[in-house]
């Protein structure tokens, strides 16, 4: 028999999933904060990308059963790939532009 959303059998896995979303959002924020030191602009961009992931975590916790939509999961994947691209850019450009002004005027 399929459990109902309020069934204790489904509440426990849903809580674990909500915690997994929170850990993932914290991981995104942590990598953004770590990148701030070596490249403030890239770090700020990554921190900005953390916002939609955090919003998704909040949204799934509000929803009964906490199952994310395909769009939410695709957003996480795209964000990780964008962070990897930013990390590659920082790796190839050395320390990268220190400020937004340096980025705009070329450094």
């Amino acid at each position: 028999m399929r459990p109902e959303p309020d069934d204790p059998d489904i509440v426990d896995p849903a809580s674990r999933t909500r915690l997994a979303w929170s850990r993932t959002a914290i991981a995104f924020a942590a990598i953004g904060a770590a990148m701030l030191k070596s490249s403030p602009v890239a770090g700020l961009i990554v921190l900005g990308l953390t916002v939609p992931v955090w919003a998704t975590a909040r949204r799934t916790s509000d929803r009964s059963g906490a199952i994310a939509t395909v769009r939410d999961l695709r957003l996480v994947t795209v964000t990780v790939v964008l962070i990897a691209a930013a990390a590659l850019a920082v790796a190839f450009l050395g320390h990268g532009p220190g400020t937004l002004g340096e980025l705009l005027h070329g450094h």
């Binding site: 959303p5 896995p13 991981a27 990598i31 996480v76 994947t77 990780v80 790939v81």
Partner: protein, 153 residues
């Protein structure tokens, strides 16, 4: 009239019947996806840390990039593979099929082992080049040193 000898009509060929799986399995699939993405983020952070924070290897100018870049690329690959596997597992569960085997753990293990071997080789090469440079410098000082000292006095 009896149905003896009557063969049931074969099912029409088409996509297999699908039904929404138990939410607990869907949630477990989602948690696995999120765990892979956190692993991907950790790999990206490790790669970036190696490139940006490690001191350069003596005599191996691209050593840090050789170790760090594969980790960053692996992070991106794992994120995409996790999404692909999430969809594949969800489809298998909807059809009631057994879950397909995941390739991501093997990919992760193989790449980390290869990067570790590469890092060990770069460290050994760097140490060997540093020792060779030190002994060359020491030899030059031994031959040139006394006369150079005498000339300066």
């Amino acid at each position: 009239m009896t149905d003896v000898g009557h063969q049931p009509d074969p099912e029409p060929a088409g996509p297999p019947a699908e039904s929404e799986p138990d939410p607990r399995f869907t949630l477990a699939n989602e948690r696995t996806f999120l765990a892979w993405n956190r692993t991907a983020l950790a790999l990206i952070a490790a790669g970036l840390g190696i490139i940006q924070l490690l001191p350069p290897f003596h005599g191996v100018p691209f050593g840090r990039h050789a170790v760090g870049l594969p980790l960053i690329v692996l992070g991106a690959v794992i994120a995409v593979a996790a999404y692909w596997e999430l969809n594949r597992n969800q489809t298998a569960m909807r059809r009631g099929d057994p879950l397909p085997r995941s390739v991501v753990p093997r990919l992760l293990s193989a790449t980390i082992a290869a990067v570790a071997a590469l890092a060990a080789a770069i460290v050994l090469l760097s140490v060997a080049r540093k020792r060779a440079a030190d002994s060359r410098q020491g030899g030059e000082l031994a031959t040139v040193g006394p006369s150079a000292l005498g000339a300066s006095q």
